[in-house]
């Protein structure tokens, strides 16, 4: 079981696709202007990631090593098409606001990366769990970044949540403050880069403080014997 907790730790923190591997930066930076968009794309990526990990893990013993990458890409592309059609059918508003980034999930390096690095070497159960944890880690980063940018840029949280979750969710929208002049840079790509940098810095601070609190292994100090010749 400790094996699974290790997978969870890797996906959510130590090897987080957004903060540590820095994979999938294009959607990470492009669609995180609001929480709703971030959450929508995060869930879509999560679904594709879990699905592709399962499928790749299932076929891993039948695919010749030489052509594994094209096969993985075909699997991922099929899954992305499914997800795209589903979002188009059930959350059309979100489909419009995510735009090209929904089909572009197929090029997200997190997915092919996990297929290659994990799912093609592990059994189905472990691969599923890994996909879930990596996807969650990615989604959490997206949502935090989206929340920060939305608060700074629009002064709201969950604006347009009804696009994702249905009409009842429009009650979720929180007006944190009233902005007369939106802080435009937070909504623009440079704001995403700066926000991302600050999040990575925060993670590094937390990591180093964890490290500092751990007891240091005692290093045997080597005493230097000094020999002074007298006389």
């Amino acid at each position: 079981m400790s094996n699974y907790s290790e997978i969870a730790k890797q996906g959510l923190w130590y090897n987080n696709p957004g903060l540590v591997q820095l994979l999938g930066l294009c959607p990470l930076l492009a669609v995180t202007a609001t929480i709703t968009n971030a959450l929508g794309l995060g869930i879509a990526t999560l679904v594709v990631l879990v699905g592709s990990n399962i499928l790749v893990s299932l076929v891993r013993n039948y695919v010749p090593k030489e052509i594994r990458i094209p096969v993985f890409v075909m699997i991922i592309a099929a899954l992305v098409t499914c997800v795209q059609l589903l979002v188009n059918a059930y959350a059309y508003g979100l489909y419009l606001s995510l735009g090209i980034f929904l089909p572009l999930i197929v090029t997200n390096c997190v997915i092919i990366g996990r297929a290659e690095a994990f799912a093609s070497r592990n059994n189905v159960l472990r691969s599923t769990f890994d996909g879930l944890m990596m996807g969650l880690g990615f989604t959490i980063v997206l949502v935090i970044l989206g929340a920060g940018r939305e608060i700074l840029g629009q002064g709201t949280l969950f604006a347009g949540a009804d696009l994702l979750l249905g009409d009842w969710a429009s009650a979720l929208t929180v007006h944190v403050w009233q902005v007369d002049t939106p802080f435009l840079i937070a909504m623009l790509p440079p704001g995403a880069f700066i926000g991302m940098g600050l999040l990575i810095a925060l993670k590094n601070i937390i990591d180093s403080s964890i490290k500092a609190r751990q007891p240091k292994p005692q290093v045997e100090s080597i005493a230097r014997a000094r020999i002074t010749k007298v006389g």
Partner: protein, 352 residues
């Protein structure tokens, strides 16, 4: 009897960072004076606000970084950054803009990169671009020159406008009964007029130009030029960057003016309007983010000059000093890499 023993080349200079930075601020004073005379007390209020925020932010970051506070505060570099930003933004911009700008300049642009001497970009200009991109309306409505305003703003009303809660200064001004206070800068006016089909000559007949390059702007630029010459005299800056900027703007705009005087304004307008002189002597010459070798400085300055002209003439923004300086900052390490001075005893071919 003690002999002073020093290694060659036996030149003692007492120029510390704090002294250099302080002289930069001193040489800004004539320009600040002219700006206050023509555009009201807003500039002084912004300066006071910017300097206090900058020193506080710098002290705070130093405490967080566990570095000595006083020695860093007394190197006056935060003072220069704050002053440059305060005179670059519109004098009656709301108070939170300068606060955001200075915090960004000091904390993110300067100290996140490692503090003075390690910043890739000019902090004041990076903050200016942040403000321009974030708040385009406030950043492009400059105050009318005092002589054109019907009721010139005095200190009290400047304070009132800067610290008001209203979103835009124009609406506040209408409440206060001031009129014709917010207006575009001369460069902005030319840009708008040209896009509306007027010729440059027609545009220059408007009241804001009063026959020359713009009320107030000419003298403000002359004062910055004087301050800059003082800096040169005191050997705080070298001549290469400033000269290269001014010459390249002259060449580019002269060329455009010769080809099509109706759609291009004269070189004089380009030189003495907007932030040209401030950029040439005070901003681009920042020793940290500029190129370092003499030839490299010439290239660096020429690049800024050409970029200023190109963005002013063909770009979306009326003035381009900040963008030009930042773009050139990015190239500075590259320039330095390829333009290395010849080492003594080596042939220039071996230098690379």
């Amino acid at each position: 009897m003690a002999f002073k023993i020093a290694s060659s080349p036996h030149i003692n200079t007492r120029s510390l960072t704090s002294g250099v930075m302080f002289r930069v601020v001193l040489c800004l004073i004539p320009g600040i004076g002219a700006q206050t005379y023509f555009f009201g007390f807003g500039t002084l209020v912004q300066l006071a606000l910017a300097i206090s925020v900058a020193l506080t932010a710098e002290a705070l970051v130093m405490v967080l970084r566990k570095r000595p506070v006083m020695s860093t505060l007394s190197d006056n570099s935060a003072l220069v950054t704050a002053s440059l930003l305060a005179i670059a933004i519109p004098p009656l911009a709301p108070w939170w803009m300068i606060v955001i700008g200075v915090l960004f300049a000091i904390v993110i642009v300067k100290h996140l990169y490692g503090g003075l001497g390690h910043n890739v970009f000019n902090p004041a200009m990076a903050a200016y671009v942040l403000l321009l991109v974030s708040f385009p309306v406030q950043m492009t409505s400059w105050v009318a020159p005092q002589s054109l305003a019907i009721n010139p703003a005095d200190l009290n009303s400047s304070l009132q406008v800067i610290f008001s809660h209203s979103a835009t200064m124009t609406s506040e001004y209408f409440q206060l009964g001031y009129d014709a206070v917010a207006m575009a800068t001369p460069l902005d006016t030319i840009k708008t007029d040209l896009s509306m089909g007027l010729t440059a000559t027609e545009s220059l007949h408007k009241a804001i130009f009063s026959g020359s390059v713009g009320v107030g702007w000419f003298w403000v630029n002359i004062c910055y030029l004087l301050g800059g010459l003082c800096l040169l005299k005191m050997k705080v800056i070298r001549w290469q960057i400033s000269t290269a900027i001014i010459v390249s703007i002259l060449i580019c705009s002269g060329f455009g003016f010769l080809i099509s005087p109706d759609t291009h304004v004269s070189p004089l307008v380009h030189i003495f309007s907007g932030g040209t002189m401030l950029a040439a002597f005070f901003i681009a010459t920042d020793p940290v983010s500029a190129a370092t070798s003499p030839r490299g400085r010439l290239i660096f300055g020429a690049m800024i000059g050409v970029l200023i002209y190109v963005i002013r003439t063909f770009g979306g923004y009326p003035d381009a000093v900040a963008f030009a300086v930042l773009l050139a900052n990015m190239c500075a390490p590259f320039i330095d890499h390829y333009i290395r001075p010849r080492t003594y005893g080596h042939r220039s071919g071996n230098a690379l």
